[in-house]
Amino acid sequence: MSSRGSSAWLLQRVTGALLFITLGTHFYLYHYFMGPGMWGFDSIGFGATDLATLKAMMESNPEMAKYYKLAHLFAAPLWKVFDVTFISLGTYHGFYGIKAIIDDWVTHDGWRSVANWVVYICGVVLWVMGIVAVISFNPELF
Amino acid sequence: MVHKFDAIVVGAGGAGLRCALELSQHNYSVAVLSKLYPVRSHTGAAQGGVGAALGNEEPDNPEWHFFDTVKGSDYLGDQDAIEIMCEDAVEAILELEHFGLPFSRTPEGKIAQRPFGGHTKNFGEAPVKRACYAADRTGHMILHTLFEQCVKNEVRFFNEFYVLDLIMDGDICQGVIAFDLATGEIHVFQAKATMLATGGHGRAFSVTSNAHTYTGDGMAICFRRGIPMEDMEFVQFHPTGMRKLGILISEAARGEGGILRNREDLENIGSGKDGFMGALAPTVKDLAPRDVIARAMYNEIKEGRGIEGSGDTGSDYLYLDLVHLGAEIVNERLPDISHFARTYLAVEPIKEPIPVQPTTHYAMGGIPTDIEGRVLWDAKNKVVPGLYAAGEVACVSVHGANRLGTNSLLDIVVFGRRGGKDMVRYINEAEFGHITGEPDGFIRGEIDRLQNGGGTEKVVDLRPEMQNVMMVNSGVFRSKESLTKARDTILELRQRYQKIGIQDKNAYFNTELVEAIELGFLLDSAWMIAESALHRTESRGAHSREDFPERDDEKWLKHTFIHYEADSKVKFDYKPVTITKFKPKPRVY
């Protein structure tokens, strides 16, 4: 398989399909769990700590409740792996999508490659930012 | 502008492209000139199939094909040419398959075949499956396959170049004069050999299955240059044109089992029982040759058994019943014609019969050629050096007085190929001639007259008058009275044509000017048809004289050659029919 257009096309479909799943999970976690919900993934031990400790910490310092929740997820190795995957899929799919739009709209070969490079660099920078944020998050609260 | 090519092909339908393909296989420069883009050519409208005795579906034999074609031609076809065509057929079809033509297939994977009008086994015993087909788009597939191969062989195309005249150096053809539709410029194309493959003249009639661009160009160009036309009286009327529109419903519809029904037969629609053709042609029934069926239909209508019962052959019609065939056959083997019926008549052929009436379909006559496609100066086989013709524009003659279905597509591939081969031989031997004077002077004058002559007659007034008078008076049935009327009207219209004027002064794509030129060519064709039909005092094949209802072999077993003498004057001479194997017999089916 060459890297002309066919593999990129296929990859865009594969990442799209995977995002369907990962984005659903992300939504659940960061909107339901971070919001009113407590029960779900953490109860089977996927978080950085057990639920009882988290609850106790949240009650002791309500101002910090949300941060504790975030840390509970963010610091856990499993969710780090998940977030790295999710960010990679998201930035690839998103920025490749922008590149596809540029390929359509920008007809001049020179401008097209300039625009594509800008998109490529932005994508990589953002991806690195995201990965660094996820990996480097180690607050040791628990 | 002057161009120089070893060979020029005028017309990019099946015959022209097949010829160009043959030429392109040698190291000669070839140009194809067409007033359309190649894939717009009318070959693409042919539906049902191309005849060849491959014997893929059941035993068949080129000799039976030979016999059927001779009999179908009402014994006017030249048997040496017909024999060659039927024998070349097998190779020509296999070659098309090798070029990539996507034929429909038999369960064994061979080229599929279906029955067609007039094609029989064992010299008339019963219908035979001889028409090789690609659904009901056989012509479309032939046209596209040949075009594809020409593209592969890098044939040079001049698209939308309308050829208006020949360049003659004494008796020798030196090329053509063409009008570039896009710019209005006149181009001179010099060539050692020129092939005319410009098609027929169906638009001289009001109800026709032919394209708007089918305007008898090649015939009229030659006629004006003193080349005679052979057998112009023979014009085929296809039995099943869509009512009023003339759009063709392929004979394949009857090949697959379709039945014609009159008003007294309405309760049998969908039953599969015989219709009126069952009694008239007991062996082949609805698959009798086209002239026989077209006449039968006219008679049904005349005797008040048309669907409306008015007896008026112009507006009354009959039904073509496909209902009993079922959805599968109609949709899979006849998809295009079902689509036409749905689009243009709002008729669902699976459930209802299709209103049909005979439609002008094919010119059996045309530029006389020998079996190598060389154009003839006279009835004594004197060749016009450098000039070739093939396809509907030509008269070899393989179709005689009536063409069998599937033989037109066969004609173009066989004789396009033969013409190409002989052109190669000729180019090898011949030198470029000298073009003296202004070869395009005449055409420049004509175009100037049309555009700036200040004439007041209009194309739109003359054209329908010609078409109607031809349809009514030179149609399926003819008589001295009707043909005289047709001839006189055409001569009068030719006078009026001299005073034609057009509104459009633009050089680019002046379609009004093109229509005016086409009308001039059509009037010449119509004139030749009417004169020749008036001249032949017998009934044979598609030519049915009410005042001479019998075939007269003693007097008329010969080809007519019509020569241009002067304005409104022609003269005739005759060429005997070549008879080899099959002696003329009464023609019953």
């Binding site: 399909a17 932005c122 953002l126 | -």
Partner: protein, 115 residues
């Protein structure tokens, strides 16, 4: 102006929602990298997330994401099965209906959840 038929409208919406999602992705990763710097930074960012305008935007984004995701699945289905190709108009309408329904449920849920 060429008439905008089912497939074309879906395509235009797919591109618009795609661009919107990428814009949010940029903002989201940027803010996330700030959030991870400690509790104070986190709370500061959370404040901006709580403004009504931002929350309305977030709800809209949910609609965009739902459409983009479902329409994307429709496209994949189409490119891989003949059936979906032949039924494309029906599937476009189904995409709208499903995305719309999920959006209503999700929007209500989101609005309530973080209130």
């Amino acid at each position: 102006m060429y008439k905008i038929k089912e497939g074309m409208l879906a395509w235009i919406l797919h591109k618009i929602t795609g661009i919107a999602i990428v814009a949010f992705l940029i903002f989201h990763i940027w803010s996330m990298s700030k959030m991870s710097k400690g509790p104070e930074a986190f709370n500061a960012v959370i404040e901006t997330y709580k403004t009504p305008l931002f929350r309305a935007g977030e709800v809209l984004l949910l609609g965009g994401v739902l459409f983009h995701a479902l329409n994307g699945m429709r496209l994949i289905l189409g490119e891989f099965t003949a059936w979906a190709m032949k039924q494309h108009k029906l599937l476009v309408y189904l995409t709208y209906i499903l995305a719309g329904a999920l959006f209503l449920v999700g929007a209500w849920f989101m609005w309530r959840a973080e209130g």
